[in-house]
């Protein structure tokens, strides 16, 4: 019962914050609401017995990635509201996007409510997970079954670091030529 209540509260906070992300004029506010959305999602993860995911959701997402966002906003000095101009040049963009969004939500709702989700049941019931520990299980799987994707992920991160540096650094030589 408590869990149900918690879900409703957290779900509502998530939706409201997500809407605020979209409709806030100031990008800094958007970023802060996004952080709140992520934290609420972390609570939902705990409700789903995914404690490790909840932890990295807070640390990586709400922490590291969002700091990066705020940092860039600050760097570009974008805290003014007039970045986007006073009016939208594409008149029909906003209404059609919202209508389409409504249709999409309705359709997703219809699908989820009318479908009986089936599948092969795994061995990790919440009880067995709590005996071993969620983090330990995730770690074990990462280094056994998913060791290859795990290594690929590290290469990906490395490539991303290099890419970010190259893209973001000032092209001093070119500027000198100009």
């Amino acid at each position: 019962m408590l869990a149900g209540l918690l879900f409703i509260i957290m779900g509502l906070i998530t939706i409201v914050c997500a809407l605020c992300v979209v409709f806030q004029k100031n990008p800094v506010y958007s970023a802060i609401f996004l952080i709140q959305t992520m934290v609420s999602l972390a609570v939902l993860y705990v409700l789903l017995h995914a404690q490790f995911i909840a932890a990295i959701q807070v640390m990586v997402y709400a922490g590291a990635i969002m700091v990066l966002f705020v940092f860039v906003i600050m760097l570009l000095n974008l805290n003014k509201t007039d970045v986007e101009g006073d009016y939208d040049k594409l008149l029909f963009q906003k209404p059609s996007a919202i209508i389409l969004g409504f249709i999409l939500v309705v359709m997703i709702g219809v699908v989820t409510l009318n479908t009986v989700f089936q599948g092969t049941q795994g061995e990790y019931t919440p009880e067995s997970i709590s005996q071993i520990g969620n983090t330990q299980l995730v770690g074990k799987m990462l280094f056994t079954k998913y060791v290859f994707p795990f290594e690929i992920a590290s290469v990906l991160l490395f490539a991303a670091v290099l890419g970010a540096i190259i893209l973001a650094k000032k092209q001093i030589i070119k500027e000198k030529e100009v």
Binding site: A18, V22, L47, Q57, T125
Partner: protein, 100 residues
Amino acid sequence: MIPLTWYLILSGMLFTIGAVGVLIRRNAIVIFMCIELMLNAVNLAFVTFARQLNSMDGQIFVFFIMTVAAAEAAVGLAIIIAIYRNKATVNVDNINLMKW
């Protein structure tokens, strides 16, 4: 116990909000945040299904999605900075070279 369908509907709503945000916002950084929102919606669905099927694989997938999201954020923000340096704007409507 909350029916898992609720989580899925919540995930769907988050996803749609993110998608609509991408479509109506003109600030590149905000668009980027909306994409993160959509990714989070998918994560939620993954965790939900993992719970539903008593499987760990969904959680592992979320882990990888977060990795990709981190990489994407780094590169994407670098691109935005590069664009800002060239065009002095992050308004996507001004970045419209792809036209006839």
